[in-house]
Subunit: 333 residues, 3 copies
Amino acid sequence: MTLKKLGEKVDGQVIGDDQTEVFNVSSIDSPKSGTIVYIEKEKHIHEVLNSPATALLLSRTISTPRTHKPILQVNDGKLAFIQLLKHFNIGFSPLEGIHPTVILGDNVSIGDGVNVMAHCVIEDNAKIGDGAVIYPHCFIGYMSHIGEGSLLHPRVTIERGSILGKRNIISSGVVLGSDGFGYYDDRKGERHKVPQVGIVETGDDVEIGANTTIDRATLDKTYIGSNTKIDNLVQIGHNCYIGKDCYIAGQVGIAGSSRIGNRVTLAGQVGIVDHVVLEDDVVVLARSVVTHSIKKGEVVLGFPAKPANEAKKILASLSRLPKIIERLKKKGG
Amino acid sequence: MTLKKLGEKVDGQVIGDDQTEVFNVSSIDSPKSGTIVYIEKEKHIHEVLNSPATALLLSRTISTPRTHKPILQVNDGKLAFIQLLKHFNIGFSPLEGIHPTVILGDNVSIGDGVNVMAHCVIEDNAKIGDGAVIYPHCFIGYMSHIGEGSLLHPRVTIERGSILGKRNIISSGVVLGSDGFGYYDDRKGERHKVPQVGIVETGDDVEIGANTTIDRATLDKTYIGSNTKIDNLVQIGHNCYIGKDCYIAGQVGIAGSSRIGNRVTLAGQVGIVDHVVLEDDVVVLARSVVTHSIKKGEVVLGFPAKPANEAKKILASLSRLPKIIERLKKKGG
Amino acid sequence: MTLKKLGEKVDGQVIGDDQTEVFNVSSIDSPKSGTIVYIEKEKHIHEVLNSPATALLLSRTISTPRTHKPILQVNDGKLAFIQLLKHFNIGFSPLEGIHPTVILGDNVSIGDGVNVMAHCVIEDNAKIGDGAVIYPHCFIGYMSHIGEGSLLHPRVTIERGSILGKRNIISSGVVLGSDGFGYYDDRKGERHKVPQVGIVETGDDVEIGANTTIDRATLDKTYIGSNTKIDNLVQIGHNCYIGKDCYIAGQVGIAGSSRIGNRVTLAGQVGIVDHVVLEDDVVVLARSVVTHSIKKGEVVLGFPAKPANEAKKILASLSRLPKIIERLKKKGG
């Protein structure tokens, strides 16, 4: 495809020969002949100019380098990069149909254009929305509902009663609707399991990473809002409510009954204790532990999580601590 | 069912109209007409009184509110709540039998009233106790033993030789009996895998959360004691011994060869290094790292874990550290 | 087998009756009659001498105890222990062949002596090297390549395009090639998924622990070098490059695009932020968070990770902090 045509696709302008053809995108680490390379930071331009890459994709904010290679210049380079990736890498499109090894319960409702692959098990009264794609070894429990256009990677477990919105992408190994961790030691010292009879529900365009687990509620539901993206190996406890447009990074753990607002970011390996509230737009930096509720828009860090600038001062102080103690000792005698 | 009859079931007393009928339990967050709501904390009574909920379940320790809604008063509200949840939500009871898609090895012993669902694989010489229920896509390895009345959720892996006690509940995605992380770099710098020929064994009434992994022992066994409850995404290393009646919360990691006593609580995201001993009744607070053995009944916190009151003093001091350093600087010149 | 013959096998010398027969290895925790026990630390000799164990395996560095039990003395006790474990515990060797319930796509290439067990799914154009063993419920995606002699435990997911080297051992529940966590919020506030069109590639003799997840690259590949050993529940983000001969312990998380050199050790629950470089022979101690690049051979600890001796001084100072603050308060008025 010529750069001219690509430029029309991504609303960009070609500097240099717009009849140059490229057949894919490649990376700054491994720039290939015949491809266009997206350069996010100015400092990487030089090495790409000296590489076999055929063309460059740049935001207008980056000053145009002197080169014979043609440049595709756009307002938002990252967005154009995503558009080109999609253009050149058309998703694998599996055939429609239900594989003969799939075990279907009674009264299962299957929408139009659905693909359910080998060895899946779908229990009674489940409902699969139009255009859903379900890879091998998935389990979809009794009364569950998979929304239109959702994609389940291989061996996902959807426990009974779960409700997934439209266009969810669920990675391999995810467990939705496992029992919450609820027990009660009575006065005689006997341990009882609290029955977990609630469900998990997700909004639209939710994505959940590999081997993440989300527990069903005791009553009512554990909820994940639309457009929230969850990374791998995350644990979300029973009765949690998570708003829209959140980012939850790898290995985060959220204990039971916490409420997370909209547009909240939880960085890697964060922990949230039970029954706290994180208001909208909160950012929790990596590895922090949130032990109390956090107000709208706050950025927090540390254990226990504090306003980030305060926590950073403490971390900086720590480096000086051994010397200070040494000095005080000498003085104090 | 009338409140009168429910009261007999949970050993409680009805205040108000005992002929009122309820058909389920609902929560304080979403109280529904026709249901009884368990109120744990006095402060929530008011909102439930003004809700569509039909009746209230209260412990005797909570003073009786003035209301027209009937109240079921009991000694232990939480216990009665559990009993009512069980009463109204009879577990899904799958049919008996071995699904035709199950692959059975030679010499597999299947007890009475067992249910093995679609696509499970059970290897040679395995033994499934009476009344066990095994959901789809489970793998039960050579010579393994599943105790009576145990429940395996979908796609659980039981590696060869594992022995599970009675009434275990194993959540989806659990791996029991994976190889321990054992290697040896010899003097020539060659790396050798230490063969892991031991097993995993559990007592009775053990519960294991979704996607948790427990490694087999090098020799002998990794052991989980009766009535111990383990949450999601927990890692337990080879040769660990865990006692009875423990609680192990989400994302805890226990390195190899550690010994955990009875009634030990490990809160969320705790780490335990290898070869330490936690005596009975130890409590490790959230996110702590235990680097040495802990005496009976101690409550510890931090990295490295210290007695909790000591650790809390340190955390409190930290907040004051930046100012103190500032002040010392001014003074010290 | 007589100790004499075992001694020849492991290049050792028998002290005492070399016609004594043993049939297995047992541990110092549970020494059994008819077995040989490897004693790593001198302090454990006494209890083994008073146990039913039949013989002792000792390194020459440990002084020979006075006993009637025969001793097998070797240069490297641990290495001999591994050799004996292998000798007495011949691995379970599954039959060759493709189980009739396996679903094979078009144009799948299967090497000699391969075993693919029940209910596996192998998609189009995948390639399975000679002697590979694939346990039940594995999914091997489109165009993937499993190297010669590799072993996949039950229900491993190999997403499309992954390339595994020779003699890999992949534990149950592993997901290789899940989508990286890549999104972009454009200037209009719309959220876009960045297509992840790269792959995961591993070298030879890589081992990956249960329920670990490794994301595919956005472009190019996420790479794990030969002979690197990864424990359970580890998360490795997209575009990471990990060198040869590394050890990565349980629950470690490595964010996207980081580069780890050769012979690097990451202890349990370590976190590595994105885009940092750990040079060869770096050691990151337990629970540390690496927030910046680390030079060759450094040993680091803490959050943020610092040279370990510095970090240890800070940890030691912390214990004294509350008293110091108390004292300063009294003085300062």
